[in-house]
Amino acid sequence: MRFMRSAIVALAVTTGAVSSQAAEIKVGVAAALSGLAAQYGAAIRNGFELAADEINAAGGINGDTIKLVVEDEQGRKEEAINVFKKLIFQDKVLVVFGPTLSNSASAAHPIAQASRTPVFGTSNTADGITAVGNYVFRNSVTEADVLPDTLKKIVEKEGVKKVGVLYGNDDVFTKSSYDNFVKALKDQGIAVTTTETFAKGDVDFKAQLTKIKATEPDAIVLSALLAEGGPILVQARQLGINLPIIGGNGINSPKIFELAKGASDNLWVGSPWSVSSDTDVNRNFITAYERKFGSKPDQFAAQAFDALNIVAAALKTVELSGDIAKDRIALRDALPDVTWTGATGPFKFKQAQDRSGKPAGYDADQKPIVSVTKDGVYEIVN
């Protein structure tokens, strides 16, 4: 009972503060903080917290401070829908970031679209995410843009002519990444020796790897998330497969050096962000992140960090009325024109189309950086 009373007092205090000054801008973050995708979600939350702290410390947005409302969507579609409803209708946030996985985004984004709430994906790289409608934004560079560049680089440097393919076929993200690899391989005339699959939670990949090895490819194309990607690298090297491995976004994280310690060399990845990218903004981001969280950031933290800054840049051009419905529309209208140079480099939006070719949401317009791993670091390939 005492808890109830203090909760009511606390509620009265916060609502009082909001009505007098409108000093708080509520921003929703739906991230997978538990479940199988939790390691991405945690990095994403950290990225948002760091950005919010920095923006608020620098005086906020035209005097208003950003308040993050972070909810755990567990990396599951059903939960993402619940969390979106809570953030949009109950917490009445101005914009929702997330959810973490493309799977969940396809399920939850239509709710934001229907309620005219801007929604901003920072880690959804599957095709069609922004086809939902004009309230859907993302700064995650799609794999359709990244993978062809990665392949071009490795063909140029290593003379790769034929590849074996291994991918997770029970996940929208790794499947979509596979589809993009297939398209890029075809466009660039690279032969595929064999295509193998695995499922989430598998512990053994040696059957597939042995089969791939027997087809004698020049490199292995791998579309996996970290939990499987690490063991795959280790088991490949244990089987004596020392070929270059070309990865998608899912295994582009410094964590791979830990998970595949001793077996992490010669992994080629393309991504909008690299820990080795030597710009001032990126260096500051990495230092601040390490100071606050005690670990190295990854691509997902960097994209979350940039995303909040992009929205903040848009909000600075908008005069908020305090009417949440109007403010959401105003933010949506301001977002497409934002340009920003963040941890991931220069950024702007490009118009995406829906399935019938009509304009829909907005994708990222950004150049990827191709890196190869060596001795526990990413080396940028020029």
Partner: protein, 293 residues
């Protein structure tokens, strides 16, 4: 490639069998499908990881610690959850559902304590590289898993056949009530079985996470699904069945990948399983209306 796939199949099959041994033991004696076995498996992996990382113990000591800690967790599950349900004569589905709750609690606790990140044992805890002979590769962990699976199975089988505790266990498996009338301490045996089954699950957790190089809170979940298939195939509650069922699933999966295609892996493995159950509905070693320990 064929010889390498044989080795792959043998080690994967042993992985499944190792997990299924404790799982089937608890069913054979207590008559409970313990859906917390996957979580206990995870507890063992984390216990050993902490022992290796924090206390810098060698891997054999970490295995002993994992054995004891997950055994104690199994004992606690029996005392706190299964035993009260037995006393109240709960219908047989109720303990199974209760163990789902236990699994969720253990998974969340692990995530709260250690975070959701995938972790791994530091390199060098076991010899990392693989032994190569004539183009074939096998790792120390794989040899360890295969050997330990066989050793544990032999010990369990001999223990059940030859020792008085084993005889008592088989009597309990036949009918707890009749065993109690004959003066056997049924509750005590249930406790011992819960400890041993969970302890074996914990050891399996350590070995399999060394094998896969991955320790994470939900690591027991996919294994649990395979484990259920294995013990159904082997005959619920049968120790030999767990080994043969595990090896069967391992071989079916690996050879489905090798000769049919990896997208068809689960379809082939579980299709075969279904066919076998059509012919032998009680599983390979199961007998109708009878539980065996």
């Amino acid at each position: 490639m064929f010889a390498q796939q044989l080795i792959n199949a043998l080690s994967l099959g042993s992985v499944y069998a190792l997990f299924a041994l404790g799982f089937t033991l608890i069913f054979g004696v207590l008559g409970v499908i313990n859906l917390a076995h996957g979580a206990v498996f995870m507890v063992g992996a984390y216990a050993a990881l902490q022992a290796v990382v924090l206390a810098e113990l060698p891997i054999w000591a970490a295995l002993v610690i994992a054995f004891i800690i997950s055994g104690l967790v199994g004992l606690a599950i029996d005392i706190l959850v299964l035993s009260p349900l037995r006393k109240r004569d709960a219908p047989h589905l109720i303990p199974m559902i209760a163990t789902i709750g236990v699994a969720i609690m253990l998974n969340s606790a692990a995530q709260g304590l250690f975070g959701a990140d995938t972790l791994r044992f530091p390199p060098g805890v076991v010899p990392d590289g693989s032994i190569e002979a004539g183009g074939l590769h096998i790792t120390a962990v794989e040899i360890g898993i295969i050997a330990l699976t066989i050793v544990i199975m032999v010990v369990l089988l001999l223990g059940l056949r030859r020792t008085s505790i084993g005889k008592a266990l088989r009597a309990v498996a036949e009918s707890p009530r009749a065993a109690a009338l004959l003066g056997i301490d049924v509750e005590g045996l249930f406790r011992k079985t819960s400890f041993v089954a969970a302890a074996l699950g914990g050891v399996a957790g350590v070995l399999i996470s060394l094998y896969a190089n991955a320790v994470y809170p939900l690591m027991g979940q996919p294994m649990l699904h395979k484990g259920i298939a294995v013990i159904i195939l082997g005959g619920m509650g049968d120790i030999r069945g767990a080994l043969i069922g595990g090896l069967f699933l391992g071989f079916a999966e690996v050879f489905a990948v090798a000769y049919i295609g990896s997208t068809m892996r689960d379809a082939v493995a579980f299709g075969l399983l279904f066919l076998i159950l059509l012919v032998r509905p009680t599983g390979l070693f199961g007998k109708a209306n009878e539980r065996k320990a």
